[in-house]
């Protein structure tokens, strides 16, 4: 069911922002958040909450500010006003991040394990070398995504779907709490995309909180329990079923 952009963005309500899983505690809270590049305002006074074990899809047209919002959550962009706060056990550098695949050179000379292991660098502090537990974490991430056999394979020799899984494994090695994904299904064929979504659903069911920007507004891409939609600098947060109901 292809969807078009929302005609009107509903005002975010505290009910929509925190309703789906009331027993879960908030992991990311944005209050009165405004973001801009120079004089150009991208996000205006946004309020939303991402709870533990939420699977949030961030939707909006090209240039609406989806990636800007993610940058702010990752601490790569300072808010103009307002703030983003995290749950008690969360630090910014322990968030797993999967950037858009176009930003990674697909012919880069690196093995899968070198890439996945680099996900653990956030835990290393000032230490120079990886420890046994970092290597074990990377191995576990590979195992969770069923790509252990690719460990010593060159990144450049992988298919598009496998490359995305490797980058997802790197993000998993960086976190045990929150994954943030920036349009991860871009350039994936239908089969690879379904496999990738299946892996994400499994990770979410095992307790991981996921925030995913999705470019496609097909209903089958809105696999999360919550939607953050951005239109004309305004941000709305609602549960997925309500968002979909508005398009019927």
């Amino acid at each position: 069911m292809p969807l078009t952009s929302p005609k009107a963005i509903p005002k975010a309500t505290s009910e929509a922002a925190s309703a789906p899983r009331p027993t879960m505690s908030p992991l990311i809270t944005a209050k009165n958040l405004s973001l801009s590049y120079g004089q150009s305002k991208v996000i205006d006074s946004a309020d939303f909450v991402v709870n533990e074990q939420d699977f949030v899809c961030v939707v909006g047209a090209n240039g609406s500010g989806k990636s800007t919002l993610i940058k702010a959550i990752l601490g790569l962009l300072k808010p103009r006003t307002g703030k983003i706060s995290f749950g008690s056990n969360i630090k910014r550098n322990s968030i797993g991040f999967l950037p858009q695949d176009t930003k990674v050179d697909s012919n880069f000379p690196a093995t899968v394990f070198e890439i996945v292991l680099s996900g653990t660098l956030g835990y290393l502090g000032i230490k120079a070398f990886y420890r046994k537990k970092d290597k074990a974490k990377a191995e576990e991430a590979l195992k969770n995504l069923n790509i252990s056999k690719l460990k010593n394979t060159s990144f450049s020799n992988l298919s598009g779907g496998q490359k995305q899984k490797v980058l997802l494994a790197r993000a998993l090695a960086a976190t045990s709490k929150i994954l943030i994904l920036d349009e991860p299904s871009n350039n994936l064929d239908y089969k690879s995309r379904q496999e990738f979504y299946k892996a994400l659903k499994n990770l979410n069911q095992s307790g991981l909180t996921i925030v995913m920007i999705t470019h496609d507004l097909d209903a089958e891409d809105l696999i999360g329990n919550k939607i953050i939609s951005i239109k004309e600098s305004k941000v709305a947060c609602e549960i997925t079923t309500e968002y979909l109901r508005r398009y019927k």
Binding site: L76, F97, P99, D105, L117, S118, L121, F129, S154, F155
Partner: protein, 271 residues
Amino acid sequence: MNWLFEMLSYSFMQRALIAGILISICAALTGVSLVLRKNSMIGDGLSHTAFGAFAIATVLNFTPIWFAIPVVIIASFFVLKLSGNKKINGDAAIALLSASSLAIGTMAISLTKGVNIDLNSYLFGSVLSIGWSDVWLSLGLTAVVVLLYVFAHNRIFAITFDEDFAKAIGIKTNVYDVIFAIICSLVVVIGMRLLGALLISSLIIFPTLIAMQFSKSFGRVVVYAVLISMINFALGLAVSYLITSPTGATVVIVNLIALVIVYALRKIIGK
């Protein structure tokens, strides 16, 4: 083998060999990150800036190397700033810097009377220009670069592969950018005396490109690039002594032949 002993009996050749191999190590280590981040042209831009700085220093009767080092470091920060600015085309900025520096250097030399400057040695390098102070400077730089790579190779890999991710996990990528800019400037200024302003960037680019033809692991590409860089420099120096050719050009041609052979072999073997 008599020619080899004869070559090594000259103190200027000893200095050129030692300084050249040390600079080759630094250039290869810096080059891996620059090439893989698609910033290869930065070396070229900085070497042209170094030419301009050397020419002005000579005309003003300053010690060229100590004048060129701060000038090139400032230019590297300028290039770094421009490459991070989305409104300005970084490649165009480097091209402008290169052409302007070459023009300023050439004008400074041509308009100054009573100063005897060998323009060719600045543009294409000269083994005779390497003194023991250059050797010690190269040794110090190599120690710093090797230590940086030993203790930060994992972070350098993360930044080189995916800068956004590296930032997201808390790596201070801007600090590494500044360190790389300073190291690249020093490699260019010291190496330029040996290979020349027009050829020094080849020492930064070729070893990585050759190493990438037969290794698909970042760690191995780094190690191979260093070995290739050292071997090709020594070979180029020896060949230039044997056939009495310009050292800089010979080193570049040795690297070019190595790249063609390795590329052809990879295609034939189908790796």
